[in-house]
């Protein structure tokens, strides 16, 4: 490969455990060792944060150095000879771990971190010796309500300062600090202060032990029972990469997934609660005029209404796209409404704009605005125009994907066919309701505000009789004489990718099976 002057970096040769490796100059020695598969334990180091070298777990021996050095605080240098597994290093690490465990409470049974705890993992991997200590442990405060979303247990804290650095460096809101000295050191907020910054839950993620735990997830499930599915946060147009943690068909939390292009290691607190919409207030069964109906009957009724109105006054039939729908749903609605039924009045909308910051949060609270705008050919009318058209009677029939707060009152003589996932005024007013799956229940894709296309994976089963939107639309198309045969979302995606430029370079990827945290590598 020809050296590109912009990216070419100077490399240095380092010998790690007798093997020669080349690393870019200035690289962190710990990262370098990890990148070549050499295992070194650490508590305080975090790839997204600065290195204070306080835990002393990542000590390595460097030839020429008088004593072991913390690898997370050392940059690689040419001709460096590193030993990571000498008996001396291993013994020092073990002793450091023994110190760490000295005052650690015997809390595994009640600690939410058990199962994804770094302390548990490192003890098991690097120590494995029974206790020598028989003395009393230092007691500190437990169950401290430290913030809106967070509970602190000072006994469990191993003083790694990761959380302090997350507040300082990521949230730019220095809320936490360490007080007192020696074995009486505690993690705490300033008197009268609370840990209430919009990125506070990241402290829970980075906490290697169970000192900081999320109130929302507190005692909901043990960590090892959860299954992790990669997905994308639907909270705003940023599209942070996340992992859905679900157990027995129910989502329990969302955690950020490393993605250097979007969110690095972080995620806002607001986005973490977007899963609530998946578990609450769902439309489970199809209905016609508010009465429970079978799916074929509801599809037939929807087709009848649409067909009649299209035959009568095609110009008064409208279709509403959703900025929250996946590219696949959007594409199939495009094929059905625009290609097949030749509906001309095309609207699109989503959640209203909200607050934003310079860290991750976007003002556009819809995850797929970019995808919809780039899929549906203009003119794309707004919801405001829809309101006007409904009021003036220019529209008599609408086919709605998603359940935006449409200005449809129950008395309005408008035929509404809605593919809905959550209950709301629109569902209450609709003539035909077809339940569809939400983002966590389908395979699909979103395009974020920068046009980056990211994959969604189904983490939990669809509730009731709900189906993915594209499937409902394809079946509705079948009733209306618009034949669309898709066996899976990936087929829809393949067709869409062939038609819409922004999907051209996107790769569908594998259908990943959820990994149970218990048998996947421990997340500690």
């Amino acid at each position: 490969m020809a050296a590109d002057p912009r990216t070419a970096v100077e490399t240095v040769t380092v010998i790690v455990d007798g093997k020669e490796h080349k690393f870019p100059k200035g690289m962190n020695l710990l990262e370098a060792c990890l990148s070549v598969g050499v295992k070194i334990p650490f508590f305080c180091y975090h790839p997204g944060l600065s290195s204070p070298a306080v835990c002393r777990q990542c000590l390595v021996e460097i030839k020429g150095a008088p004593k072991p050095v913390p690898s997370c605080y050392t940059a690689v240098a040419d001709k460096m000879e590193v030993t990571t597994n000498s008996p001396r290093v291993l013994e020092i690490r073990r002793q450091m771990l023994e110190f760490t465990l000295l005052n650690h409470p015997i809390d595994c049974p009640v600690c939410d971190k058990a199962g994804e705890c770094s302390l548990q993992r490192h003890y098991f991997d690097w120590d494995g010796k029974l206790a020598r200590n028989e003395g009393d442990k230092v007691r500190k405060a437990k169950v401290v309500d430290v913030g809106k979303h967070i509970v602190l247990d000072q006994e469990r804290c191993i003083l790694c300062t990761r959380c302090i650095r997350v507040c300082n460096e990521v949230a730019k809101s220095p809320d936490l600090t360490i007080a007192n000295r020696g074995s009486h050191s505690v993690l705490t907020t300033a008197p009268g202060q609370r840990l209430d910054n919009p990125y506070s839950l990241n402290t829970v993620d980075v906490c290697p032990v169970g000192a900081l735990t999320a109130k929302d997830f507190r005692f909901a499930r043990r960590a090892w029972e959860l299954c992790a599915t990669p997905s994308v946060c639907p909270g705003c147009a940023t599209g942070c990469s996340i992992e859905i943690h679900a157990s027995r068909g129910k989502i329990h939390r969302l955690v950020p997934r490393e993605n250097p292009l979007v969110n690095k290691f972080w995620m806002c607190d607001e986005g973490r609660f977007t899963y609530k919409a998946v578990t609450e207030n769902r439309v489970r069964l199809p209905s016609i005029d508010g009465k429970r109906a079978t799916l074929p009957a509801a599809l037939a009724e929807a087709a009848r209404l649409l067909g009649e109105d299209l035959a009568g006054a095609p110009q008064r039939v409208g279709v509403v796209f959703s900025f929250q729908a996946t590219n696949e749903d959007t594409h199939v609605l495009l094929r059905l409404a625009l290609d097949g039924l030749k509906i001309e009045r095309v609207y699109a909308g989503g959640r209203a704009l909200g607050g934003s910051d310079t860290i991750l949060v976007s003002a556009d609270k819809n995850p797929n605005t970019t995808g919809v705008v780039r899929t549906v050919p203009p003119p794309l009318r707004t919801l405001k125009e829809l309101t006007r058209d409904l009021a003036t009677g220019a529209l008599t029939t609408v086919l709605v994907l998603g359940n935006e707060a449409l200005p449809v009152a129950a008395a309005t003589p408008v035929t509404v066919i809605v593919l809905a996932s959550n209950k709301g005024p629109l569902v209450a007013a609709a003539n035909v309701v077809l339940p569809i799956a939400m983002w966590a229940e389908v395979d699909g894709s979103f395009a974020n505000k920068d046009g980056l296309v990211q994959r969604l994976h189904a983490a939990v089963p669809c509730p009731g009789e709900a189906l993915p939107g594209w499937e409902v639309l394809a079946r509705l198309g079948g009733k209306l004489g618009v034949e669309m045969a898709y066996a899976s979302a990936s087929e829809v995606f393949a067709e869409a990718a062939g038609r819409h430029g922004f999907l051209k370079d996107a790769v569908w990827g594998d259908s990943s099976r959820p990994v149970q945290l218990r048998f996947g590598e421990s997340r500690g």
Binding site: I106, G115, Y123, L130, W224, F519, S522
Partner: protein, 416 residues
């Protein structure tokens, strides 16, 4: 005369010239007969589709699998420790042997098989040999009962019950012991247990002697067993037969002798073999093996050392409860072992031991996580039963019972 009549029939009825019958026998119509899966002699539910002429068997099609419980698939969804209750249910008349066999396989993959404390190894030998006796007692009891000798059944079952009681004292359950753990056993022998074992062995011996008097020289029994279902020595090796079935043919293969494991090389015992390879030899070999097992038991009771009963390594065995309650180190080890399962290094291994019916093998594959990728069992009686379709033709329906009984198929193990 008879042959002429037969020839005439052939001409008249167009019957085949080629006949399996002795010249002079009147040919009868072949009758298909379903023996099992619900048949009193087909313990462990197996189906034998017979074609019989009168009572003589022409062909036999043995169909196993009616007791299939997906052991191997279940094992893929269980941690290494959770598999122990499943192994109890493989050969359910000698669960300890399965426990031990499985534990040995995992220990080999963990490379701790030589570090298992000596006392634990002796305990494993002791409970294993008791299990072997219960296995043989059950086999002979059921075999005799199916021949109509009901009293023998009760004499032997009585002995088995005493031994089960001892095993219950040790493990807490009569049959589903789940007693062995990776790295050792779950609890030490109870106080005062060895003398009780010695007393019970004496009683079992006298029960076996009674049975010996009732059967061994009894001409009715001998008529039923002698020369029936003869297996040649080469044949036994060729079909992969092991255990008492193989030894009855004269093939002196015993894993305990040929590939000693645990502490078997420290005991003095004989490998009983047969000379004719018929059902009687299988009966006699089992009878003798019980006495040999008792010899081993006596030696083991005399030699058993004091010491720990499970490996002192919190990464393999759960720490002592007192430590778990009171120290974070043990608590963490405890949690890790339960929630993540034992971390068995990636790799595969075949480990085998002498089960009640022969070579009991476990082939396990690990990918380094807490669960096996594959846990395959080589059940001895699956191989043993495989020869049944070859043995049966030419015998009578009544011979199926002792032949099947002496092969000693255990459904739980064969079908898994």
């Amino acid at each position: 005369m008879a042959s002429e009549a037969l020839a005439r029939r052939r001409v008249v009825f167009g019957e085949s010239e080629v006949s399996d019958f002795d010249e002079g026998d009147l040919p009868t119509e072949v009758m298909p007969l379903q023996m099992g899966p619900s048949h009193p002699a087909m313990h462990g539910t197996v189906r034998i589709t017979l074609e019989v002429e009168g009572e003589k068997i022409k062909t036999a099609d043995v169909q196993v699998g009616y007791l299939h419980r997906c052991f191997e698939k279940e094992a893929e969804y269980a941690t290494w420790t959770q598999i122990f209750p499943y192994t109890d249910r493989l050969n359910y008349v000698s669960p300890m042997l399965n426990n031990v066999g499985y534990a040995m396989a995992v220990e080999k993959l963990l490379a701790i098989d030589t570090k298992v404390p000596e006392r634990a190894q002796y305990i494993r030998v002791i409970v294993g040999e008791i299990s072997r006796i219960t296995d043989h007692l059950t086999c002979l009891a059921a075999g005799a009962m199916e021949l109509g000798a009901f009293t023998v059944f009760f004499y032997l079952m009585k002995g088995r019950e005493w031994l089960y009681e001892l095993l219950e004292d040790v493990s807490g359950a009569r049959l589903t012991h789940s007693y062995v753990r990776i790295g050792g056993v779950v609890a030490d022998l109870p106080d005062g247990w060895p003398p009780r074992l010695r007393a019970v062995l004496g009683k079992v011996q006298s029960a076996i002697r009674d049975v010996d008097k009732l059967l061994t020289r009894n001409k009715i029994f001998r008529d039923r067993m002698d020369g029936v279902a003869v297996i040649a020595k080469e044949e036994a090796a060729g079909w992969g037969l092991t255990g008492p079935v193989a030894r009855s043919t004269g093939l002196a293969y015993d894993v305990r002798k040929d590939h000693p494991y645990l502490v078997y090389d420290r005991f003095d015992f004989d490998v009983p073999v047969g000379s004719a390879g018929d059902n009687f030899d299988r009966y006699a070999v089992r009878l003798e093996e019980m006495f040999q097992s008792m010899r081993i038991l006596e030696q083991a009771l005399a030699k058993i050392p004091d010491g720990p009963i499970i490996l002192d390594d919190p990464r393999v065995a759960l720490p002592e409860k007192r430590e778990t309650y009171n120290t974070i180190e043990a608590m963490i080890a405890h949690f890790k072992l339960v929630m993540d399962g034992l971390h068995v290094p990636a790799g595969e291994i075949y480990s085998f031991s002498e089960g009640g019916n022969g070579e009991l093998g476990f082939y396990i594959v690990s990918d380094g996580t807490g669960r096996p990728v594959k846990c395959r069992v080589r059940p001895p009686c699956f191989a043993n039963v495989s020869i049944l379709p070859k043995l049966l033709p030419g015998l009578f329906i009544a011979d199926v019972v002792p032949t099947f009984g002496m092969l000693n198929m255990i459904g739980g193990e064969c079908d898994r």
